[in-house]
Subunit: 431 residues, 2 copies
């Protein structure tokens, strides 16, 4: 079967999945969780095969780490599914209702997007996580995993397919593309795929974004900033910058560049340096920074760098607006924080910084769906269409308009025999 | 100045436009309306030049018709701006608020998307309409008009630029690309343009959609359906199908294909034929249709055709699900209506038809932002991401997360010294 016929089957199944009850979907989720636990040994065995083969093929260390799917990871996946079951069904919510005229009622109600293309590198946990999120939100799934994880992915896809079939979910709602199918082919299937969610390294995500006309939800980079204003509290500023940089360096919401107002720099930078030295953070800075504290030189490439490491670039700026300009130019639209005692400056920063998450007096590391209390996280989006910042289940639904009449035609309104009432209602859609 | 420098200026101006007050934006809108009226003669004169030149260059009749921008059109544009002024500012609304912990408050607030690329063929009214919608929603605009309308576009852009400058809107928030700049260049500027809105013929919109990685909001085609079920009211069905097909044939929400249940066909089709004959509608049909009423043969191409004319294709189907399958296969995801007395069948149709607008017992012609009571209409979207169906001002905004703390760091939560409260609030963002 060709990849297009595969995709057409998923598209067809996604239509009936869209109308499936919340109970049925939750039962299917519970069965997936059960089957993951039951087939634990088989999953771990398949994963070991992948690890051994990939190691012998000299797969890079970070990819090997992501590839690992052991009992602890299975346990985590099962827990994730149980919390997903508890979330409200995102489908069928009435967002808006309007009585257009007597007996003519308009409803805007949420519905699944359709078919989600999930492309992931290593990380078999992404397979389970994204496919269960898609099921809960009523979307069909076309999965494409990397060849390094092929044995694990086959077992996991089999678990999901069998468990959902037993629960009465339409066959074909999810398909794992065999590894010989090229990612490139999938990126062209805009007839069947409505949205692509990539999971993997920055280069991987960037490649997907640059090579598809299908909308992509995700982020390639997290170049996050802290800006310490001239009006600032010393202890708070040190504490926030240290947390933003060092609490966990290998993640997208860790701060990579610190901007400091020139009137704050001579007081703040030495105190910060002392605290960062304890965490063994390497500092590179602009010439003004290097006049105040010892640091390597920072070049243009440092302002665009996502170190994901114990390294920080520092720039002294002449004004709040210079800081905002720097962030909008070099940042990745992810998360940026201002540390200031001035409410007005915080307000200006939060209005003018064009990022999905703008913070005042707190660490950039808070930028996360679970910390936000959004429940399950589909991912973090740095796009500016549809969904932005940490994206929960609501990022996997769109809406349709339902209009219920009783023989209404437009001619009477065009002739002015009738006129619209346009009375807002607050009524759930009865269908 | 190159097209990229042009675009960079708009991007920079869009940042401060994003923070502009509703009053300032409304004052700028009022000045545009005033200037359009004041410079009426100049606009009409420029438009006549375009019309004369384009006619001598043998521009097609429908394009010439769209190109015309006379006093009546100016009046309409001015009225449109006055109703736009009355609409609520879509920017700065708090969509969601959450107390994450004591003194740590999260807000999701609406903000402009950024820079909108507007590409239009003929239709100088699109220039005024879309640019004023973008201004109200705080977005920068890069405009690219067709060479056929160049004189009109220059005057109109000058009106908008001068009027908004007088009102204190940042210079460069809007730029008209000179006609020598290629559309192709604009489609590649994903660094500066966040969303493209095309206005023109189906072929034109399709070309834009097929040739850009930037998200496109619009619809290429409206292949709308009426389905008459076996349980139906004869008078209502005839009335709705006649209205859907003939009330105005040249528009995207006119019905192009009628589907009829086989148990309804022999009673319904002769009655419908009689009514459509009065409107001189040509009918083409499937073999079963042609056994019941005189009609030309309909082929595969007819199910995909947007006639925009007094022509209807008719197919007899064996079941509701066959009708749904036909619509999902051949339709354009625009608007589809079921005529039935059965609530259950209506519900199934509205759940399973994968279109932005699904109707029960009313004409497809209702699918329109003004009829829906949404106020100003940005356009109709057949996409499934961001906005769908008739799109009002809310389609030109996205949101950002604002997090306000008081020295909060993630370390304490990771160490379990503190735990999140995640208490939903109902509080507008104070910044």
């Amino acid at each position: 079967m060709g990849i297009n016929e595969f995709a057409a089957l998923v598209k067809a199944a996604s239509i009936s999945l869209a109308a499936m009850s919340a109970d049925r979907k939750n039962e299917a989720l519970a069965r997936i969780a059960g089957a993951l636990a039951d087939r634990r040994d088989e999953i771990v065995k398949a994963n070991r095969e992948d690890l051994v083969r990939s190691e012998s093929e000299n797969l890079a260390e970070p990819l090997l780490k992501r590839l690992k799917f052991d009992e602890a990871k299975i346990e985590e996946a099962v827990e994730g599914i149980h919390s997903l079951i508890k979330l409200e069904d995102p489908v069928g919510k009435t967002l808006f209702s309007m009585e257009m005229d007597d007996g003519l009622e308009l409803y805007r109600t949420t519905c699944p997007i359709g078919v989600i293309g999930v492309i992931f590198e290593s990380r078999p946990d992404a397979l389970v996580q994204i496919s269960t999120l898609c099921l809960k939100s009523g979307n069909g799934v076309l999965l494409k995993g990397g060849s390094e994880a092929r044995e694990t992915n086959r077992v996991l896809a089999d678990v999901v397919i069998k468990a959902t079939r037993e629960a009465g979910v339409p066959a074909n709602w999810i398909k794992l593309l065999e590894t010989r199918a090229e990612v490139g082919e999938m990126l062209k299937m805009d007839e069947f795929i409505d949205l692509i969610i990539p999971r993997g390294s920055n280069e991987f995500v960037r490649y997907i974004m640059d090579n598809s006309r299908i909308p992509v939800m995700g982020h390639a980079e997290g170049i996050c900033h802290c800006y310490v204003d001239e009006d600032f509290d010393m202890d708070m500023a040190v504490k926030i910058v240290v947390d933003s940089k060092t609490q966990y360096v290998a993640v997208c919401n860790a701060t990579e560049t610190l901007l400091v107002h020139e009137r704050a720099a001579s007081g703040f930078l030495p105190a910060l340096k002392k605290a960062l030295d304890e965490k063994r953070v390497e500092i590179v800075g602009c010439p003004k920074t290097r006049e105040i504290i010892p640091a390597g030189p920072a070049g243009e490439e440092d302002w665009r760098a996502e170190y994901l490491d114990y390294k920080l670039s520092v720039k002294v700026v002449g004004s709040l607006d210079e800081a905002i300009g720097h962030i909008n130019r070099y940042g990745s639209g992810h998360t940026d924080s201002i540390i200031t005692t001035s409410r007005d400056k915080a307000s200006r920063f939060m209005s003018l910084v064009d990022s999905g998450n703008v913070f005042w007096n707190c660490s950039t590391r808070f930028s996360d769906g679970f910390r936000y209390g959004l429940g399950a996280e589909v991912g973090i989006s740095t796009g500016k269409i549809h969904a932005r910042g940490p994206v929960g289940l609501e990022g996997l639904v769109i809406y349709k308009y339902k209009l219920i009449g009783n023989g209404h035609t437009v001619a009477e309104y065009a002739n002015r025999e009738k006129t619209f009432k346009h009375r807002k209602m607050d009524k759930p859609c009865p269908l």
